[in-house]
């Protein structure tokens, strides 16, 4: 009974999280386009399904993923074996990335763009290995208690330098591959691991030291993919890649549920299994280490299993709901707005859709809550979400401007990261790790498809833009600007406090 009431509460909560999207869509439809969208009923149903999915997902995280991450790191801390912990970090990072569907998509696009110089499989393995290595490094950082800012400053300086030399075709993709590595399930798990580790050792602060793993996992693929790109463009031979082009270029959202053997139910079941398959490597890593290395039963086993199940089902409902409710409306609105031939509306739309989808992002809701707990009253989860959403909105708007203006992505990205590096120096140290993690959280199941569709849509409609090159890179913008907005906020709060402090 209690569980049920909790769930109702969550449902209510999830609904309020989705209000911004509904408002944005409503305002655009009635004020600017001035027509009732066709098929508004499936859209409404879709949004309701999204609400349900978000509620289930969050419940599942709380029951399954957060406890197991916390428990595992506590057990590793008790064991005190650094090699084992690093191997675990590597395996977790590797498993989180290697089966990531978004990365598979990006990798096959890379193969096409580079005319076969880049091999999709090598790219995936490269990204997975580099993420694994950096998670292993990241856990050592937590234990050593280093502040994240030096790691990030050096890392992003390398990113900017590498970008300068990297072939232009590969830049957008490289940044996108950084963004897509961390999905909605892996982010909470990796974050829980870091926070749990920081909590399990005396003298480590969950906010300053516990966060940061996700931020590192986002940064490193940018470097490795671009270096790979430089190498293959210098030494590799171009060859024809034909297969799969149509698939990758076609931005159309596919059927919500494909029928299998004439039954929608079977189709849904198959999709659920696919979703399960995607998180299988991570579950395998967790189980192997739990039973072979720690050799203890999972505490609250039935709860954890239920939690994982809820996460998968919730995620599925969420994605189906998005496909029913949000994507069609986003697509039709984007087309209609482009048809209006007034760029200002496209900018407005980009801003609004960025803001609204980020507010609905379930992983962000969860991480915001964790940050609020870890900060012990210094931060507010909702404030963080609004800041991140604003950041994404600005980022996407800037990215859209780049596509419309046709500028090279090089300069935008380098300028963006230069600002990030500068702010990292200036901002109070407690926010740095969290800010970078939030940059990684924003780019998951909701934002990525929507933003990619927007980018590809714009690039196809504007003359002289190459879909393959100009259509990508928006995700990177969506991940840079939240870092900036969160750090700016922390600096502002700090200044305000200092100013108040000087007044008697």
């Amino acid at each position: 009974m209690n569980q049920f009431r909790d769930f109702l509460h969550l449902l209510n909560h999830a609904f309020r999280n989705l209000l911004p999207i509904i408002l944005v869509v409503g305002i655009f439809q009635f004020v600017i386009i001035r027509q009732v969208p066709d098929e508004w009923l499936p859209m409404a149903v879709g949004l309701l399904v999204v609400v349900l999915g978000v509620a289930l997902f969050l419940q599942g995280l709380e029951l399954g993923i957060f406890p197991i991450g916390k428990n595992l790191s506590n057990e590793f801390a008790r064991k005190g074996s650094l090699p084992l912990l690093m191997i675990f970090g590597f395996c977790l990072g590797f498993a989180a990335v290697v089966a990531e569907p978004a990365l598979i998509a990006v990798a096959s696009q890379a193969e096409i763009i580079s005319e076969g110089r880049i091999s999709a499989l090598t790219l995936r393995l490269l990204v997975a290995v580099s993420v694994g290595l950096v998670v292993a490094l990241g856990v050592v950082r937590i234990l050593l208690g280093h502040s994240l800012h030096w790691y990030m400053i050096i890392g992003y300086i390398v990113v900017v330098i590498v970008t300068f030399f990297a072939p232009e075709e590969i830049v957008g993709l490289a940044y996108d591959s950084g963004g897509v590595t961390t999905n909605i399930v892996t982010v909470p798990l990796i974050a829980a691991l870091g926070i749990g580790l920081a909590v399990s050792v005396r003298g480590r602060n969950p906010l300053i030291h516990g966060f940061g793993l996700v931020g590192l996992a986002v940064m490193v693929p940018m470097i490795s993919v671009q270096i790979y790109g430089i190498i293959v463009y210098s030494f590799g031979e171009a060859r024809e890649v034909v297969e799969g082009i149509a698939e990758a270029v076609d931005p159309e959202v596919t059927e919500v549920v494909q029928e299998v053997a004439g039954s929608v139910l079977l189709g849904m079941l198959r999709d659920l299994m696919i979703m399960f398959r995607d998180v299988l490597p991570i579950i395998a890593v967790v189980l192997v280490f739990q039973y072979l290395v720690i050799r203890k039963h999972i505490a609250h086993l039935h709860k954890v299993m239920g939690g994982f199940l809820l996460v998968i089902v919730g995620l599925y409902a969420f994605v189906v709901g998005l496909k029913m409710g949000l994507f069609p409306i986003g697509q039709s609105m984007a087309e209609q707005l482009i048809g209006l031939d007034r760029w200002i509306f496209v900018y407005l739309f980009a801003f609004a859709i960025g803001f609204a989808t980020t507010m609905a992002e379930p992983a962000l809701i969860a991480i915001g809550q964790k940050a609020e707990e870890a900060a012990k009253g210094r931060l507010n989860g909702n404030t963080i979400r609004i800041l991140v959403a604003l950041g994404v909105a600005v980022g996407i708007t800037v990215g859209v401007h780049r596509i419309i203006a046709g500028d090279s992505i090089h300069y935008y990205i380098m300028a963006g990261y230069a600002v990030v590096i500068l702010l990292t120096f200036l901002s109070p140290k407690y926010i740095v790790a969290l800010a970078y993690d939030l940059g990684g959280v924003t780019t998951s199941e909701v934002t990525v498809p929507l933003v990619t569709a927007l980018g590809i849509g714009l690039a196809t409609h504007i003359e002289g833009r190459n879909v393959m090159i100009d259509g990508f890179g928006l995700i990177a913008f969506a991940s840079i600007f939240p870092i900036i907005s969160v750090m700016l906020y922390a600096i502002a709060v700090e200044l305000l406090n200092r100013w108040r402090g000087t007044e008697p």
């Binding site: 916390k70 912990l85 399990s200």
Partner: protein, 122 residues
């Protein structure tokens, strides 16, 4: 009838089992606090850092007999006195601020008599 405060400090993975014992013994509710614990001499982990275990503190106001019983059952059944497990004990409560301990006791005997007998056999 005296009131007693049951304080059980248990490792995180034992929280559910501890809760179950208290429930079966008739406790009407309890407060759970997340905490971290350390041992002396310190358990040293990576880089000479001190390990802090995740634990839960369960607190409940009970009558004297029940509180002692719950604490004993927890210590024995959960093997709390082993390293990294925890500890359960009772504190005397001098003022209960109007809480009727007699009624509480009555509730406990009424609501969990069978369970208590079964527990007594062990």
């Amino acid at each position: 009838m005296k009131a007693m405060l049951l304080v059980a400090v248990v490792a995180d993975e034992l929280e559910e089992a501890a809760r179950e014992i208290a429930r079966r013994e008739g406790a009407r509710g309890m407060t759970l606090l997340s905490a971290r614990g350390m041992s002396f001499p310190e358990h040293i982990t990576f880089f000479g850092l001190t390990y802090l275990g995740a634990e839960t503190v369960l607190v409940a106001l009970l009558d004297e007999a029940t509180a002692a019983r719950v604490a004993e059952r927890m210590n024995v059944e959960l093997e709390l006195l082993e390293p990294f497990k925890g500890l359960a004990f009772c504190l005397p409560v001098s003022g209960t601020g109007g809480i009727d301990i007699q009624a509480l006791r009555q509730h406990i005997t009424e609501h969990a008599p069978a369970e208590r007998l079964e527990g007594g056999a062990r």
